[in-house]
């Protein structure tokens, strides 16, 4: 790297951009990124009606992919995942159950599903508008691309908490097939 005075500003800026681009791509794919949320399936946690027409933009922790997923994800986390029916679609849902848990699916209250090893059960908070594990069953943890931390846009939503599992869902989850979550 020669001393800076000899080079024109646009060349320095171009070199800086070329050097920074792969780092930016790496950071946004593997460390932390932003994601705009569309749709109503996660109301009221994301895209509440008070937003009017604004869509939430959330900060996403990307260090939960691959082999880190079973250790770093827990019940109640809001995650972005690749849809099992359409690999170009990114869904944002909440993890209701982790591997080896038993879940009573919505709409089938007399049956239960045991979540296999390496999979999880995801549901949107607003179940009526949601295509989630109630329609396509447990999803592999390897499909998860990130964990939503907090909305950063619109400014009124900055830092809002995404909370945990709603109480009414806890009664449908039996961790490791034992007692329902409400009793633990």
């Amino acid at each position: 790297m020669s001393s800076g005075a000899a080079r024109p500003l646009w060349r320095k800026a171009a070199i800086a951009a070329i050097v920074a681009a792969p780092v930016a791509i790496f950071v946004t794919d593997n460390i932390v990124s932003l994601q705009m949320i569309s749709g109503r399936s996660m109301q009221p946690a994301l895209n509440p009606d008070s937003n009017r027409l604004w869509k939430d933009v959330v900060l996403v922790d990307r260090m939960v992919q691959g082999e880190m997923a079973p250790r770093r994800l827990h019940r109640g986390d809001v995650v972005t995942l690749v849809s099992p029916s359409n690999p170009d679609l990114l869904l944002v849902k909440r993890i209701i159950a982790m591997p080896h848990d038993c879940v009573i699916p919505l709409g089938k209250p007399n049956s239960f599903v045991r979540v296999p090893k390496g999979h999880c059960w995801v549901e949107g908070d607003e179940s009526f508008h949601s295509g989630d594990s109630s329609s396509f069953g447990p999803v592999s943890l390897a499909l998860i691309r990130g964990r939503a931390l907090t909305p950063i846009w619109p400014p009124s939503r900055f830092g809002a908490s995404l909370a945990g599992l709603p109480e009414w869902k806890k009664s449908r989850v039996y961790p490791n097939g034992s007692y329902p979550l409400t009793e633990l």
């Binding site: 780092v23 995942l81 090893k117 999979h119 390897a142």
Partner: protein, 173 residues
Amino acid sequence: MSWLGQKARQYGATSARLFFYCAIPSACFIHTVFDYAGEITPSYGPSMLPTLNMAGDTLMIERLPGWRSRLRVGDLVAFTTPYDPGRRAVKRLLAEAGDTVCVDPRSKHPAFVQVPKGHVWLQGDNYSNSTDSRVYGPIPLGLLHGRVTWCVWPSPRRIPNGAEIIPGRFSDS
């Protein structure tokens, strides 16, 4: 190597500058190339005999943009196993979404599975020793990593599409 040190001093390169301006962006550049163009990765195991060596073959996996739409039945694909997110595997794509697969034609009552939308059926070439879609069902396309095109080491060779489509009707009589 003292001339290298002299040149570095002439350009004002300290080890800190070298690290931040050269090493980190280079590593990220290589990582980006791996994620968006293709990578070279080792593989081992008996499930793809005789196509791939049991003791280990180094494969080149391509994932240029649009690779998913270029996948054909008979391609070798690399993917993450659905039951263990930290583990990757290489198998052959035998059926796409909408196809019906006969899981074991030799059995008296063969099972038929229809591959749902957005999924594929992956099976190892070594049917007798392969854990694949016959065990864990159709695999979502989101788990696929890329298409294996070449084996680069120890015996460099191209990995062709191994499918032969036999026209006709499957009869269950």
